[in-house]
Amino acid sequence: MLTFDHVHFYYKKGQTIINDVNFTIQAGEFVSIVGANGSGKSTVAKLIDGLLLPKKGTVKFQQLDTTNPDELMKIHQQVGFVFQNPEDQFITTTVMDEVLFGLQNIRVPREEMRGRVDTALRAVQMEEYLEAMPHQLSGGQKQRVAIAAILAMQPKMIIFDEATSMLDPQGRKQVLSIMHELHDQGMTIIHITHHMEEVLSAERILLIHEGHLEFDGDPFVFFETMSVEKYQLQLPFAVRLRKTLQLDPPFTVNWKEGIRSQWSIN
């Protein structure tokens, strides 16, 4: 579905932001991209959606090339992007207009619009806020509106670029649970984060470090074989516990249920 083929990116010559990154993502996968502040993981996200274009190599989404302007428009339609700061992605003045914005851009017929707006807002439980203005919403609510605005465009993939990092625990939980619901319904999800608790439930982890792809594989293998501290990351609580107790792998914790559901006494 998505292919990075020897992708390089820099702003100025001599700089390396992204260096020779290769990977392929299949439809329906839940992939977490992890790395420290400034590792280049957000740049990878922007390259996927064609918000930045590779200096060398190609980024293709379903055979569409991000460097071709006509194909780029189709990519924007099919790939949704939720940004880190809820404050900076609200473009218009009300929740309804925000969801309409994308629909108008992709020329959805007028009769179809209202139905799509309602369905999308219902999916994120924001249907009561149709007329609300951005400064009346909390961070978590703004992120949910952003997700609705994307869902209305009926994308095939959604990228969450540290979309939970500026939210309070409640907002974070809501956004995470929406992510997993969408994935259960078949959506391809790319989740960029440095919160290791959140990546335990991913199907695959990509580690970006100083612009290189250092790891691509199963979260379990990632936490077993990589010394994550080297990359400014921390083992999730469940893995720290497992390692301290020298328990046998495999051992993961369901993020929805927490550790409570995982244990019994013998």
Binding site: F81, I91, D97, G102, Q104, R107
Partner: protein
Amino acid sequence: MSDTILIGQYMETNSVFHRLDPRTKILSLFIIMLSFLMLKTATSFTIVSLFVFGILMLSKIPFPVFMKGLKPILFILTFTFVYNVLLTKGNVIWSWSFIDVTAEGLQNGVRFVWRIILLVLLASILTLTTKPLELASGLEKLLAPLSKFHVPVEQFSLMIVIAIRFIPTILQELDRIILAQKARGHDIVHLPLVKRMLAYIPILIPLLFTTIQRAEQLTYAIDARAYGKGKGRTAYKLLQFQQIDYVVGMIAVLFVITVIIIRLGGL
């Protein structure tokens, strides 16, 4: 700070004006305001003032709201008045050292100031009774013919929408910065004027930086949602003239004709 700025301060009072098409309001107010340039005599000023007063009443918006809107232009009004009084030549009625006050000067001063007040009151009717987004789409429709000459009308309209959306955000940010600076012992309220001007630098620099960052993120957000340089977007809200629009339009035209007749008749 946030209370004195009228832009985007829409007020729901369910008046006739709220039901009008934004295009009717923009065009009518535009020609009425133009006609104000022809006001000269006390009679014409009285008639027009009564008319404007009637409009204010019809809008059902409480009078203090309008007064608040005039506050920020108090300085301009004072300046205009003094400028006219002192620099118009004519019959001197009072003088002190090099300052001469003339009867014509007083007359001119009152005329200019009164005209500005009328203009501002009418303009605030537009912003108080029209939702910002309706205003933008009204403007977009009115300017649409210009797009044939490659004027980016649709982008212009998006620009207005974004400006309106970000005013409360930026004011909030300003409040936070002032607070953060105050916590650093940087209190601007208790400083003399010149020093206070300089003291704004620590507040404006962070505001500038965060706003630039914000703008950069916003361009990504707009691109990501497939905004294709504004070409051929579909519309959800359709603007349509109703009967009341024709009536109001007619009244506006009649008003302008009256003003012209008054002027020509020398009343």
